[in-house]
Each structure stands twice: as C-alpha cells, then as structure tokens.
Symmetry: C2
Subunit: 582 residues, 2 copies
C-alpha cells in the first residue's frame, strides 16, 4: 500500500496517527539540524519534518538528497506544527518522518510547478505532463469533469439517452474541411471524421430515439484562428416531437442547472432577443449583456447639419461610455487610434463629452449645438459624466466596429465580471448568409435548418430575408450553444440543397441516406449543441479554452509534446494505396 | 406542443382526460364502422379508436388512409377499452380520437418494425434508422446508456476524474495497425487515431492526476474477424500510487456495482486464478466458470499401456460431460467429427462412458481396463452417467481443442445461463508471447507492462518464462477487461523496448515523450481498460456486440447505411498532398 492518507487530508484530529504518504517533493528547507519538505499530491500539500534529534542519520541523509519533484513515500507520525500555516488546510500539522523511500528521482523540471509558474506557453505545452501538476491546470480539468458529470446527470434525469455515433463516417464537402482517414480495406476510399454528429442524431430521431445527447469529439480541418482546436468537444442534443419553444426550455433548464450546481448562481428566465435586435442594439449576434452601452442610432439627430461624413453615412451610431467624460485629449486620441487599428477598421470617431455639470463638449462642436448633443445623449442613454462615442458608415461594418469598441471599453472598465452570468437566447437567425467573395448564399447554421413557417417562398425572391427556426445560447458575450428546428420533409430538404447550390446528384451522393430516411416517417425534430470547451472555460471564469483541455494542439494543429503529426513509413502508405504528392 | 403524454403512460386513472399524442402508426385494423390503430413511440403503444358514431367523417377518412409508420398527432379522450390487452401496460385504455393530423407519411418499410422482424441483417443495417425503432435494438441502446451512466457515477464517486485525451495523435507501429489522418497543414505528415489512450493516461499519472477514467472510442485497422469493429469503445482507467491488489479491488468494486445496479445480482468476492492455472484447468485464459468440466490430465493414468497415440502425446487430457453417457454411437461420432473440424483441429477423440451402473465402456477398451478408466473418471471428476472425452497431442494445441469442446458442450447442455454471472480475475500473465511465424517475442499486453519484481533478469535467459503484473477480468467466458502495472522507470522501459526489437532510435522517435516524462518524477502506476461494447452485451445476456452499437460497421469495415468509406475528390486529395496509388 503506497499511502494511508493523501496529502490534503491531515488535520489536528490526526495527531499521533501513524500515516503513510506518497507524493512529489515540492520544496526542501534545510536548516542543518532540521529539514522540512513539502510533499504534494493531487489533493494538497503536507509538511514533512526530519530532525537530528528524532530522525536517524540515514533518513536525514536521504532527506538532504531530495530534489524538486522527486517521488517519495514516507511513514511517520502526525504532530502539531510549532509555526502553523493558516493558508493551507493541513497547515496545523506536520508529519515526523520515520521511514522514507525514494520511488523515483526527477531531473530539475524546466519550469516551476507552482500556481504562478516561470514557464511560458511553449515550454508548458511541450512538458504538459508537468504543467498538469500545477493547480490552475489540474483544477481546470477537475472542473471540466464536474461539468460533464452534471450535464449527463441532468439530461439523463430528463429522459435523454446518450448514444454513441460513429467517428469513421463519410466526407461531405459542406461547412468546414473534413479530416479524412484512408481505408486500407476499401482501396482508394476514405472515411471522414465527423464535424458533428448532425446527420446521425437526425437519423436517431427518425429511429424514434426521441431525446438524444452525446458528449462527443468533433473535428474540423480549418486554418486555426487563435483559440480554435482541430478537435473539440460538443454536448450534442436532439429531440423529436418538439417545437423551438420546447427546446429553448429544456436547454435553458440544463444551463440554469449548471449555473446553480457548479457556480451556485441562480438565474432568472433567460431573456430572448431576435438576431435583428441583437445586431441593432449591440452590433453583435452574441452580445454580452452583463453591462449596458446599448447602441443609439443617431441618423435622425445627426444628419440634419452640414457634417458631410455623417450625412453620407448609411448609419450613424453611438454608445455612452460610463464615466469617461473626464478623459483627457490624449486618452481620447488613443481611443480614436484604437478604433482605427486594422483589426477594428473604423475611419475615425466622433465624440461628445456629457460633462457632470450638464454641458457638452464634442469633437464636432462646429456642426452640432448643445440641443443636438442633448438628443445624442438621450438616444445613447448617456448620463452626465459619460463619453458618447459615435461611428458612421456602412451599417453592418459600423455596427461591428462599434461592438468592438463597446467590448473593449467594458473590459477596460471592469464591466465583464467573472462571477456574473448573463445568459441570453438569440433567436430568428437568417437562414442564409451571403458569401461576399463568391456572391453565393450558404446556410448560416447548416443545410438541415428549417425556414420559419411560410417563408419557403421567399427563398426564390429574397433569400437573405428568410428567417430560420435557429437559435443561439449566448453567455457573457460568447456563443456557448446553437441549434435549430430541422427540416423533416424530403421535398423541403431537396429544395434547400438546390438553393445551396447542390445538384440533385450531389445531394443524393452526399445526403441520400438522410433524404431516404425522411421517406419512412421522419418526426418533427430539432436540437442544439453546446461547445463544451468554451462552456467550461466561461463557467470557470476564463475565455481561453486551451487551459481547459488536457492535451491541446497549437495554432498549427500540432501536439508539441508527442510531436504529432509526423511522417509515416512507406509500407504504411503503400498499404493505404497512397503516395505523397509534395 | 406535439404531445401531452407519451404512448406508454396512459392508464385507467387517466380516463376522461383529454390528451395529445404523437407517434408512429404500428397497425391499423379497419372493421368498417370502427377503426383501431396502434400508436407507437419510444415509450410504448397506445390504442386509438375511431368510430362512425363518435368520429367525424373527415377523421374516419384520414384514419382509413393511414399506413404503417405514418407519423401522426392525435387529440382525444382516454376511455376504458371494452376488450382489454393484459400484455401491454396501456392495455386497459384507448384514446377516442377527436382530432388527427398526419405529420409525415411513410413508404412501406422494407421490414416489419416488430420484435421479431422479417428483415435480415443486411437490410436492417442499411435501414438502421428503422431497425432502431424496434424494441430489441432500442432497448439495447437504452441499456448501454444505463451502464455508462452507472460506470461514470461509480468511478466519479470514488474520486476518479474523466479526462478527454486527444484523438489526433501519432502513429506507433506496435500492436495493430493504426488508422491515419493526413495533415493538410503539415505537409506529408499524418496523425493517427488512438488504438487506446495508453500513453496519454500514463502521462496523466506523471501529471499527478492520480485516478483517471474515460469512456472513449478507440480505433484499430485490423482485418475484421466476426464481431470486431474498427472503432470500439473502452472504459479506460488508470491510477497512481497503487499496486496490483489496489487495482483489482477498485475494479472488482466497479463490476460488482454494475452487476447489482444493472442486473440486481449480488456477487461474492471474485475468484482469482493464474494464467498458468487457467490454461491447465480450462485450456483458456478466459474460462467460463459458470459450469465445471475442468480438465483432468491423464498422462499418469493413460501412458502406461500399449496405446501409441497417447504414449506419443505431450499431453493426454479429458473432461467429463455431465449426463452424456447415454449418447448413442451416432451422437458420439458426430462429436468426434465436431472436434476434427478444421476450426477445432483435433486428430481424433477417445471417449469413455461412465455408465449409471458404475461400469465403463470406452473406445479404447482394447488398451484400458475398468481400473484404468476408473482413474480417468477420478481425474476428470466424472460421475456415473457422464461421458469422458479425451484429446491428446501437443500440450498447448490439445488444451485449446479441449477448451473448444468444453464450451460447445456447455452451450449444448444449456450450462451457459444468461442470467448467471461468474466473474473471475486471471492474473500473472506472461510478459511476452512468442510469434511462431517470426520467432520473435512481442508484448502479450503492451510494451508498457511491468515484469514481476525480480524477473527482469530472466528476460535475457528465458523470455517466455517472465511473468507480468498483468491481469484480465473475465466474465462468463469473455475477457471484459484487462490491464497491468506499468513500468515507470526510464531504464526498465528502455530495456523492454530493446527486448521487443526496437532500436534505441526507434524507441526514442516513437515513445521519446513517454521516456522523457519518466525522468521527471513518474509515480508507480497501473490501470485497466474494459471493452464497453462487450461488457454491455454480456450484461445484456448476449454475445454479439453489434446489437449494442447504434451504427455498427460490417465485416469489411463499411457503414452500409451512409455508404462509407467513399472516394473523395481530387481537390481534397491535392490539399492533403496525396495521390492515389492503386
């Protein structure tokens, strides 16, 4: 038996108990006649004491030889500490060591195994197994486990069945690129790894499974943006005989349960907002509503004067930044520079200070008088002391730019509070999205999403105006889930494929099985998928998913620890009927 | 709202309640003035009634148009049935339909959606979404969900953390063939899909994670034998600071919990048997111990006479088949033919009837007298009325042949009872296994398995004799789990790789990250993995895993429903820097 207790559980009540502990040496303090060592395991740290009066020479010698991260086993007696450490739960006791065994030595680790480490991201990823010993990473992984357990318990209690769908499926060139897997037994043919179990969960609904979920890995061969992973985890859900309202209620229930069970937070009924409203009010389809700064559209009160820039703009829109009327000229210039950065892309910014005394001072005083500016304040809901920032130009672009400014200012002003949770349903998404490069429409959600009742006809006349039975769940400015009511009629599905540019042959080759299935009594159905990595990160009060994944890949899709991907040998290639084409 | 109740919950207490039901039309019986339809969903079947007196003409007309598997929604009143059906829970009531809506029509399904279907395996797999509507398949999937929920709850309660390990890893040509995934972003390089998360779970132990589990898909590109799948699911577990005894206890606990929670079966402490003993007693490293028929080795009491076949044999070994002394000559000849089939491969079989009256009658009466045969009976524990069957030849082969006979006879005699569960630990497996074709030894479990203490030296002198800290959990004659205590010392791991024929360069290229990790304080650790597909099948009283997988592949590794694998287009190949080499 390697241990009778773990390193996190000894208390004063254990005094005089003989214990066996195993773990890693965190630190050694050698005072000559007495040596202390901190022993660490997953559960905590316990102080070990060795002294010349009470410990044998051999033990003192071994204690002196201990290095950081050595793995040892000790036997000893729990005693009271003379100088207690109130910062750790075991801080009132220490173990007087009577036997010690080095189970494994350690080289000096390349970075310190402490909450604040001296190791940079790259080295921590290469030695991820050491990084995981650090509390922040270890606790994130334990937190993730707690979240998935709660998800499973809650959904299972609601009658959902977790069904495993296959990983070796078929490549379908819609959406992102597939990762493919050459088949040795089927020459010249390939499996694909699922971008999501979408079609399979729909087939489960056709199969009468009724309430399905799965926590499942999905794969996308995309050029990785920051904080994207080629493999990621989804909480994938689908229900039959439901309308949008049923789905919103069920998954609002799940999310509320998680917030309560994991964070102890009670949340009221989630607000709902249409996509159009979200874009108008926040310039963003996943607005962070923990704070205000709603958009005020100023066309009516800014296009009646001689200011050409505004007069020529499709949209003039502003926000009131709380308490920022006191900004110096320099600070405001910095803000103007910020919105002009290529990442944001505004041409410039107009501002108006709404001073505490009720007066106004703007960068466009030449054009607008106090009365005008008072209207701006009214429209942006500015209060005395606020700074009104105004952007103008093409409506969509300007909204996106102002949204960036809004988020940035909220961040700077500390309005994005970690421990505050503001969920929101965004509903009535457009069915199609115009690809500006190709001029083609593609499915905003995916090609199985059903249009709103009665809007099918619009597909021919005004495709961009068709709204879908599609919804996103937004938490603190992040999309944590999204879904839709699906098409369950073969003809409508065929129409949709046609509008998305599939020939009937292509549709049949790629999704024939699904359209066949729809002929045999497909029930109305719909669902939703949560991005687990992001959900966990946000519940954990962070926004970087990488810290919640045990072995993440870097931005080139590489695992730098195991050094993958890697070349394979010629025999393997030959067996797969492949040649490299470099 | 599509339904107020499901089709399995209405009872007499619901009489006069207005309900809305949705589901599939199972059957329609049209008696002219009255029509009954059975409406089915995941939860059961409810009878609908339409009659000319109480239902409108329109409703009667729609009812008449219903075909099998149409999806409909009805509103109506729950009433008492005149002729009750005691075979289904809803059999005392029916719903008098006042509104009906066809939600989706259905073509006639290619096989009947009933417990005993007229569809063969091939057609059921092609239309798996219809097959899943059938109770046997649906209930298996629900059963699988129950098992995984219990596994997770139990392990989580014991302090285990479920950690997701990556699917896109590195190809390591040990064990079976890997499925590989070409990397677009890393030209000429490939990921591999994991055959198991073995190295990652060991790294989690190095990372201090201490108690890990994961229910996870694994992949092997093998030529498929019957009932093997290229993708399969494992309950993968690992613990640090443990000895073999700790692991056996923890996973015996899990298995006992499952038997109790899922099957309501209480099982005593699991017996343990060494590999050598299992081979000697049952000719099998996964013996079914629900019944006896232990092997009796007869060399001592069969090699002293003039019977050359026995005298020349390395092993003479028999079993007593209960109650088979009454077999006719024809029946016994059939048995001899059975053991001589190429799948079994015995050259012949000697038998001795131990008659009810205590007399013996054997096929070798010319050589052996009653006294000899009485000794055979004693050694094989035969009772009057039993038939002693004896095989001889090369020890290993003969044991395997007799094991096949033992299992066949148990099957025929009904001794392999579905509702009886006999778990067994088989321990002390050999570390290495001789590949008879190549003459090389390879790891019986995997190259990370530790040899028994003190046996490392034997590796040079008698590699086949080295025993490992490796164990299998056997249930009803099936290996449901297996594992080992791992090597955690870099030098021993290097020695092991050398003995398995890896050059130091190969070992470093493939497993360098693991050996590096061992230098930074690797704790003693070990683990176990259950084959979930098989575990679920056996708990479900069946031996075919395919019926417990939602979308299985066939013996050529194809998904015949979606028709995968499939060719991919040239652009996709080019992006992956590949050419076909057919």
């Amino acid at each position: 038996m390697y241990r009778s207790h773990n390193c996190g559980e000894l208390r004063e009540a254990h005094q005089q108990v003989q214990v066996t502990l195993s773990g890693w040496v965190q630190t050694v303090r050698d005072k000559g006649f007495v040596i202390w060592a901190d022993l660490r395991d997953r559960y905590g740290i316990t102080q070990l004491i060795f002294d010349e009066e009470r410990s044998s020479k051999e033990i003192m010698e071994i204690a002196r030889s201990l290095g950081r991260e050595f793995v040892i086993q000790v036997k000893g007696t729990v005693i009271e500490r003379t100088s207690k450490n109130p910062n750790i739960p075991t801080g009132n006791v220490e173990v007087l060591v009577s036997e010690i065994k080095i189970l494994n030595k350690s080289l000096t680790p390349p970075f310190t195994i402490e909450d604040q480490t001296d190791g940079g991201e790259d080295i921590r990823m290469k030695f991820r197994y050491l990084d995981i010993r650090r509390n922040p990473v270890k606790n994130n992984l334990i937190f993730r486990h707690k979240v998935t357990m709660e998800v499973r318990k809650h959904l299972s209690d609601q009658g959902f069945i977790e069904v495993e769908t296959p990983y070796l499926i078929k490549s379908t060139p819609e959406g992102a690129r597939d990762f493919v897997v050459p088949s040795r037994m089927n020459e010249g043919q390939f499996y694909a790894l699922p971008q999501s179990p979408q079609t399979f969960k729909q087939l489960l609904m056709v199969g009468g499974m009724d309430k399905y979920f799965q926590i499942v890995k999905c794969f996308r061969d995309e050029d990785l943006r920051a904080d994207r992973q080629p493999e990621f985890t989804q909480i994938d859900c689908e229900m039959a005989f439901v309308e949008q309202e049923d789905i919103l209620n069920v998954f609002e229930g799940l999310t509320r349960h998680l917030l309560k069970a994991i964070k102890g937070v009670d949340v009221d009924k989630f607000p709902r907002m249409t996509y159009d409203e979200a874009m108008k009010k926040y310039g963003n389809d996943k607005p962070d509503i923990r704070f205000g700064m709603e958009f005020g559209e100023l066309n009516a009160c800014a296009q009646h004067k001689d200011f050409g820039i505004f007069n020529d703009a499709e949209l003039v829109v502003g926000i009131a930044i709380p308490g920022a009327a006191t900004y110096t000229r320099k600070e405001i210039d910095a803000l103007v520079d910020w919105v002009r950065r290529p990442q944001v892309g505004a041409k410039g910014m107009v501002y108006a200070k709404y001073n505490e005394d009720g007066s106004f001072k703007s960068s466009v005083d030449k054009f607008y008088d106090e009365e005008d500016l008072a209207k701006w304040a009214e429209t942006t809901k500015a209060k005395p002391g606020d700074l009104i920032c105004v952007l103008s130009g093409d409506a969509n672009k300007t909204r996106t730019q102002l949204s960036a400014l809004r988020m940035e200012m909220a961040e700077r002003l500390g309005l994005r509070k970690k421990d505050e949770f503001a969920p929101l349903w965004v509903i009535d998404f457009p069915l199609l999205e115009l690809d500006e490069e190709t001029g083609h429409y593609h499915a905003m959600h995916h090609p199985f999403t059903s249009p709103k009742p009665g809007q099918l006809e619009l597909l021919d006349t005004d495709p961009g105006a068709v709204k879908a039975n599609a919804y996103d769940l937004v938490l603190n400015g992040n999309e944590i889930g999204g879904g839709s009511i699906r098409i369950h009629d073969k003809q409508i599905q065929a129409t949709m494929f046609r509008h998305l540019g599939f020939s009937p042959e292509e549709a049949k080759a790629q999704f024939g099985f699904l359209m066949d299935a729809f002929q045999y009594g497909a029930p109305p159905h719909g669902g939703l998928a949560f991005g687990l990595d992001r959900l966990v990160a946000i519940l954990g009060g962070q926004e970087t998913i990488r810290d919640f994944i045990a072995f993440p890949k870097n931005n080139s899709g590489r695992d730098v620890m195991i050094d993958a991907p890697a070349p394979i040998d010629g025999t393997q290639l030959k067996e797969l009927h492949l040649k490299l084409d470099l």
